[in-house]
């Protein structure tokens, strides 16, 4: 299984993301934002956390216009998989690949802690290794994680079982405690918490491991 990790000026979780994917068995290539094409044969594109372009204008807004994001959109339109974590989730909403937007935390503070993350659906290549209702310990570290969408979008997410994760205790004011959502074809996941920071005992927890293992395992068999 081949994965590409996008790198923007200001990305800072790109190498952690690569380590997590490699540990799960993926071949990983780092791809610079100015590249117009993804490496051939890429199965999943990971958009990492960080502060791409200094969060100028809006978090993820400038990154979403970069050449590599045009290739990302084309990859997803072809049915490819994508995972966006934290700033990566913001980039995915700014590209329009996922609905809604991520606003400043309701408490206005940057939150950096390990939170309880409830798996809302196990029906995706990302979450099949968990059971709905499982509560994971996963770190969050963000200033703009307050998920907002209009009522019609929220109803659609709920009715189509596309909320992937809920917070057990909402750290940022996110609507309906939403921490992560799936695209309509369930092949794109955006989430604010950092599963790549919970894949090794030395991280203090390994609850994120199953996400990467399941994703790599599923795509090995395609």
């Amino acid at each position: 299984m081949r994965a590409a990790v996008l790198v923007f000026p200001g990305s800072n979780c790109d190498r952690d993301m690569a380590v997590a994917l490699k540990a799960a068995g993926a071949e990983v290539e780092m791809v610079w934002h100015k590249d117009a094409d993804l490496p051939l044969g890429v199965d999943v594109v990971a958009v990492p956390g960080g502060f791409s372009f200094g969060d100028y204008l809006r978090c993820g807004a400038i990154a979403a216009q970069s050449p590599i994001c045009k290739a990302l959109v084309a990859h997803v339109e072809r049915g490819g998989y994508a995972l966006g974590v934290c700033n990566g989730f913001q980039v995915l909403t700014e590209t329009g690949l996922l609905p809604g937007a991520l606003m400043r935390n309701a408490g206005l503070k940057f939150v950096c802690k390990t939170i309880g993350l409830e798996v809302a659906t196990s029906s995706s290549a990302f979450t099949e290794g968990y059971s709905a209702g499982d509560v994971l310990s996963i770190p969050v570290a963000h200033h703009d994680g307050n998920y907002v969408a209009d009522d019609a979008t929220l109803a659609k997410l709920r009715d189509q079982d596309r909320v992937a994760f809920h917070y057990t205790e909402n750290p940022n004011g996110s609507t309906a405690d939403i921490a992560g959502i799936l695209s309509e074809n369930r092949r794109v996941l955006g989430m604010m918490p950092h599963p790549e920071r919970a894949v090794d005992a030395a991280h203090g927890g390994t609850d994120g491991q199953a996400l990467f293992r399941t994703l790599v395992g599923q795509l090995e068999n395609v």
């Binding site: 204008l57 809006r58 807004a61 216009q65 909403t93 700014e94 609905p99 809604g100 937007a101 606003m103 400043r104 935390n105 309701a106 408490g107 206005l108 307050n146 907002v148 969408a149 209009d150 004011g173």
Partner: protein, 76 residues
């Protein structure tokens, strides 16, 4: 020519920064501030003849996130 673009959070979208500013004004003793909404102003230096439609397209594609923000364009 110049264009000034005003970007505001849509009505109904909670503006936590505006709420914090409102609270701070109250703390300073300014009574009667019933609401604060914070937005941004973007000034563009444009080649003569750039149409308002082009600036609108800039807003739609980049300057505003129309999921949560509204915008207005003023040519000056």
């Amino acid at each position: 020519m110049k264009a000034r673009v005003h970007v505001m959070l849509k009505n109904g979208v909670l503006d936590p920064q505006g709420e914090a500013v409102k609270h701070a004004l109250g703390t300073l003793g300014f009574d009667g501030v019933e609401g604060v909404r914070q937005g941004k102003v973007i000034e563009l230096d444009l080649a003569d003849g750039t149409s308002e439609a082009t600036v609108t397209e800039m807003c739609e594609k980049l300057l505003a996130n129309t999921v949560i923000e509204s915008y207005s364009v003023e040519l000056v």
